[in-house]
């Protein structure tokens, strides 16, 4: 890759593994558009520093991708802002029995993922979607296994709390 200043090797990599990489980016970012932006940002980094790639171009690109996501590559919090009203409505609606409830629950959980801090989100995606071990996740994100363990635990706990239906009566009581 040291010679790959023009990104030819990246072209081959994306031809073969592009869908998987884009999938990971979408999982980390929460939407197709943001996932594309994230993957593009990672590609820009790799193109700018081709000498840092030693053999495993995909591994390096993934590491850049995860770290950008973990660092909150935009730090804008737009996901959170956009989702709050939706989440509130969904949380209230969750008390109603619905045949599509399980599917909705999955989608809601994915959207709730966006409420987590970037590093927790990256850890959750790596651990529970990509099925990476704690050691692998720690190596990819450049942190300790302990950090991964606590981030995963906190992230899941946060998701459980977010997904716990809120009793509308309780809300009224609190508000009154």
């Amino acid at each position: 890759m040291a010679r790959d200043r023009d990104g030819t090797e990246l072209e081959h990599l994306l031809a073969e593994r592009g869908s998987s990489l884009l999938g990971a980016a979408i999982a980390l970012a929460g939407s197709r558009q943001d996932g594309e932006d994230l993957l593009q940002a990672a590609l820009e980094r790799v193109l700018r520093k081709p000498r840092q790639v030693h053999g495993d171009a995909e591994g390096y690109l993934r590491r850049v991708l995860y770290n950008l996501a973990a660092d909150g590559w935009r730090r804008r919090g737009t996901w959170k802002q956009k989702l709050l009203p939706v989440l509130r409505a969904e949380t209230l609606n969750a008390t109603q029995p619905d045949p599509t409830a399980e599917v909705d629950q999955r989608d809601a959980l994915v959207r709730m993922l966006g409420q987590l801090p970037p590093r927790q989100r990256a850890v959750i995606v790596l651990r529970y979607w990509e099925q990476r071990s704690e050691a692998e996740t720690a190596a990819l994100l450049g942190c300790s296994e302990g950090t991964v363990k606590s981030a995963a635990s906190r992230g899941l706990q946060h998701l459980r709390e977010l997904s716990t239906p809120t009793d509308p009566a309780e809300l009224t009581e609190k508000n009154s």
């Binding site: 200043r5 023009d6 990104g7 990246l10 072209e11 994306l14 031809a15 592009g18 869908s19 990489l21 884009l22 999938g23 990971a24 979408i26 999982a27 929460g30 939407s31 197709r32 996932g35 594309e36 993957l39 593009q40 940002a41 590609l43 820009e44 980094r45 193109l47 700018r48 520093k49 399980e102 629950q105 999955r106 989608d107 809601a108 959980l109 994915v110 993922l113 959750i124 995606v125 529970y128 979607w129 899941l156 998701l159 459980r160 997904s163 716990t164």
Partner: protein
Amino acid sequence: MTNNVEDLLREGIDRLTTTTASTDPDAPATLLHRARRHNRRRRQAITATLAAGAAAAAAAVIVATSTSGTSTNALHGQTITYVATRAEQALAQLNPSQAIEFDTLTVRGGSFGFSSMQSTAANAANSQPVPNPLSGVHASSEIDWSYRGVFLQHGYSAAGKLVYAVAVGSPGEYGAAYPARIRWHNPLTGGPDLGNPALTCDNAGFGWPSWKQSISKALSCHLFTLGGNQQIAGVDTIKLIGKPLIAEGETIRETLWVDPKTYLPLRTSTTFSQPHRRTTVLTHDFRWLSPTKANLASLHAAEQRGVIPTSFRALPSTDLPLPGVDGPGLSG
């Protein structure tokens, strides 16, 4: 939640990624093209730090006029607002048709060299990477002249030998790299959108599209604070310290020194730094020359110095070598 959160989450992410990632199989390749284009634009913006208006050379010809004098001990009682306003006024009063901008560039922790672009529209659309035939050309200092739409850039070795000469004007860009025995001429017509950014408070102060415009914009955006007085070439200059620009791990700081009599910039210094890497510092020393016989003779001599031997290997006319600075402090 009736099911295990981990399982539901995994299924949810699977649904999200399979439904969205598979809709356009060419998307990753498109993203690579976009990434290349974006990097190239970014490099172009940094190159503009040196180019100082190569693409808008006409706007970069500046006149030496002076505003009314003040005490050389200018900082006493002056606020940044006052100094910035006076400097803005001094730059605004420069007559673009009657003066020569002379600029000596030096770099610490880096060198002057070239990046390369292609100027055909077809190539821009395809975003093809461009091999850089001048990658081995390096200079340790550069001297720029700008007068009536002509922009000259001469790079010199540490021993003072001319390493490259570039001239930009109405016939396009001409250049020669002497040790590499390469010459080029790009007509600069029908080229791509190089992605030159609009001048905003976010990119002001780094020489784009000309130093006059760039510094004026930075001053109007209140990007500087007063940094005291400092002697430069016998002048007790007023030092203005710019707010750092942080982009993708790279911190860029601009410092400006103005003449307390004329309020015109005498020097700018741009510091590029990244964590755990050497810092690269690019310094421009400006002289705003009246078009006297002697000054025009110096300019003419500089033009003659940059002669382009026909025996040199000619690059394709679509190649557009761009002089720039490179160093460990710069990303990209």
